[in-house]
Symmetry: C2
């Protein structure tokens, strides 16, 4: 595959040399084509898009920016839009319908053929984020009494429009899933053998309402090519393939990372979301954190007498609360990621918090030595330096406990542990750190 | 598949009823078996482990804790260890050799058969984190002049020990990769057709020294089952399959998340790493951040005169630097993740920073209204409230610029953008926030 550069592309367009252009496009990667289309006016882009064969067009479309997708869809005639939509795999079509504005989605749904419309509406009926919404109904089903040769014949016939033929699903007469058989097994088996003899019984499956994160874990833990999805009566209704799982993992990870950074929503398309939406997705958390920080401020304001006498105490506030936030963020990072990958689980909560607090003590003592010296150099007051150091050690321990325990507490009350963001932890440590600091200062300095 | 509960398991063990135990284990998921083995003494675990057929044993081993793996390997006789190691796929073997202590790795390498030892040492010769280290040499290679029937015959023969047979690689006489052909294409093709007629020419490939993150992107972008790996002369030497890519993505993401939380290294196994190693992986960044916070402290100490007069100014320090850190962390989160997924790239740096600073202005003004009121309520001084609010708006803008631009700057100087951690940003905002605050306070309050 070659890259087409934009000058060559625009040259051919200017000459209206569509024949050569089409030929060149056939040799170009879909993502490259999407970039090229993004660089020219919409009506020209539509002309070029129409040159592409249907399957390539679907691939290219998948790589486009959301806004370019919308604009192209609006230019389509109903017939063109219908042909195009029906060429897409049903799960990709659902995703498209979710992402376009509601009026466009309605129009697209109307123009589908009755059969495709029924299928699409059926899939749209599942809750977002569940297996039902992600699955494709295009899998290969086999009966257990077929011979291997008959099964191969069936696979050959169905191959053209199935998402995968590398795993086939064996069902009984009531469409209950009773086993799986891989194309690998079929290829090496005796053609006269029965599917029932070579299939793997008791296959792993998920339900239509299983959370898609759970689906991803199931597929990845067992290195599957696809996970079968069954309805409440355990009848097979669809499959989710490894490449769809890769997309799920990427989206879920982005969501976790955003939450840890206290950004709400996923802002799926960075450049196309409106500034005000972006502000909204960030302002809520910030505002909450500002309220807490006002409390922190009122604790400090309450210490006017002490601070008026010893202004130097104020100089160590950023150091103490900053270290508390940083230490807490480290613990939370490790625990949240562990919960996401499955290395850590709620049963191990006590062990994790115990371990983290031990880390906190050792960290606090290590950093304390440095801080004792630095604080003395800055304040030239041994008692103040002692107050700062002692507070730092205690803050380290509290921070590791807070950072280590909060993700578990969130899970316990059914919130996503990833909501324990770095800003959240640092704000909790701001208020507890300042409170602790002045308690320690008042006690030690009045000795 | 059923879950075996630990009581049933221990019961069978106590009765020494190995026959039933083996039968039950064959019906149990490998991860479940690994958990069971972890709950009993090492010598008993070894006895049970020996009951497992070789391929299941390899799977179970893969699910074990690092420390249990080591302990079991130490109990193995040379012959047992050799049989076991040679049953592992070469890429998993490499991973094992990397993770066990050096003396164990040396022993294991010595006991391999000469052929397997050569292969292993060969793979170990590639730099960690490159395609060469992750690839497996067990793929299906085909000559282009074979008929489809001959190709299928060859696949049948090789199937048993190839990582995948779903994509086959077509090579010329000099072992250059000239095309790929999927088992799907072979199954539907006329048995008399030539491989050269149905193969997809110009396949995507990576080099042995390609970074593994790049490999993952290549596979995921094109929804491949496996990526072929070629040497400097473009001869095919291995493949990397989709399940290995899933592991790569998980490890790389963990690394990115850890870095954003200012945790060095990946602490691959949370419960088995030593407390001191954990402290080491976290203390370095904390210490650096403490040094910066000492500078922040000295700025405050330098304002003794002003603060002595107006202690209330100290009360707003946590609010201002906290908000700066939080706003900056949000921007950095979005940009770092965008760089990791490819949505944002260095060419768009100016657009991103421009967008972020716009977000910063709007965020600052929005939050500013709330802060003006709250600050007045806390300090009962309109001028101080004005100073705080004005500083907050400016800090918001600076924070979005710092958070948005630093990941690009890091990439520019060839550092990983994920090193721009939340603690790093918040510390930068501590010092710049405090500095700004007192500049503004000195100017506005002396009016």
């Amino acid at each position: 595959m070659e890259e087409m550069n934009i000058e060559a592309f625009k040259g051919l367009l200017a000459e209206k040399n569509y024949k050569v252009l089409r030929q060149k496009l056939l040799e170009t990667e879909p993502d490259n084509i999407a970039d090229l289309l993004d660089s020219i006016p919409d009506d020209t882009a539509l002309t070029v898009f129409r040159l592409l064969p249907k399957t390539l067009a679907v691939d290219v479309f998948d790589y486009m920016d959301g806004s370019l997708q919308n604009r192209l869809l609006e230019c389509f005639s109903d017939q063109a839009a219908r042909n195009f939509l029906e060429a897409m795999p049903p799960d990709d079509r659902i995703e498209l319908l979710e992402e376009v504005p509601a009026n466009v989605a309605r129009r697209l749904l109307q123009i589908l053929s009755p059969e495709q419309k029924r299928l699409t509406v059926h899939l749209l009926g599942y809750k977002e984020g569940t297996a039902g919404r992600e699955m494709t109904p295009y899998f290969v089903d086999l009966h257990s009494y077929l011979t291997v040769a008959q099964a191969m014949e069936r696979i050959r016939r169905l191959a053209i429009n199935r998402e995968t033929i590398y795993v086939c699903y064996v069902m009984d007469r009531a469409r209950h899933l009773i086993g799986t058989v891989s194309l690998r097994d079929l290829v090496v088996a005796d053609p006269e053998a029965r599917v029932s003899d070579i299939m793997t019984p008791n296959p792993v499956f998920v339900f239509t309402n299983t959370d898609r994160e759970e689906v991803a874990k199931t597929l990845l833990d067992r290195d599957l090519i696809a996970v079968p999805v069954v309805d409440a009566e355990e009848r097979l209704v669809g499959i989710i393939t490894h490449d769809d799982v890769a997309d799920i993992v990427e989206e879920e990870t982005t969501e976790d990372i955003y939450r840890f950074g206290a950004v709400a929503g996923t802002e799926r398309s960075y450049f196309t979301s409106r500034i005000l939406d972006v502000v909204k997705s960030r302002a809520a958390w910030l505002f909450l954190l500002i309220l807490v920080n006002m409390l922190t401020g009122s604790i400090i304001a309450g210490q006017e007498a002490l601070l008026g006498e010893m202004v130097i105490l104020a100089a160590f506030i950023p150091l103490l609360i900053g270290t508390g936030g940083n230490v807490g963020a480290q613990s939370a990072t490790v625990v949240i990621r562990g919960l996401a990958t499955g290395e850590v689980n709620p049963k191990k909560a006590m062990a994790v918090v115990g371990r983290e607090s031990l880390v906190g003590i050792v960290l606090g003592l290590t950093l304390g030595v440095a801080v004792l010296i630095l604080a003395y150099l800055l304040g030239r007051d041994l008692m103040v330096a002692a107050v700062v150091t002692f507070t730092l050690v205690v803050i380290s321990v509290i921070a590791t406990i807070v950072g280590g325990a909060l993700p578990f507490v969130f899970r316990l009350v059914k919130l996503d542990p990833a909501l324990v963001s770095a800003p959240f932890i640092s704000t909790v440590m701001d208020i507890s750190g300042v409170f602790l600091y002045f308690v320690v200062a008042n006690i030690m300095l009045s000795l």
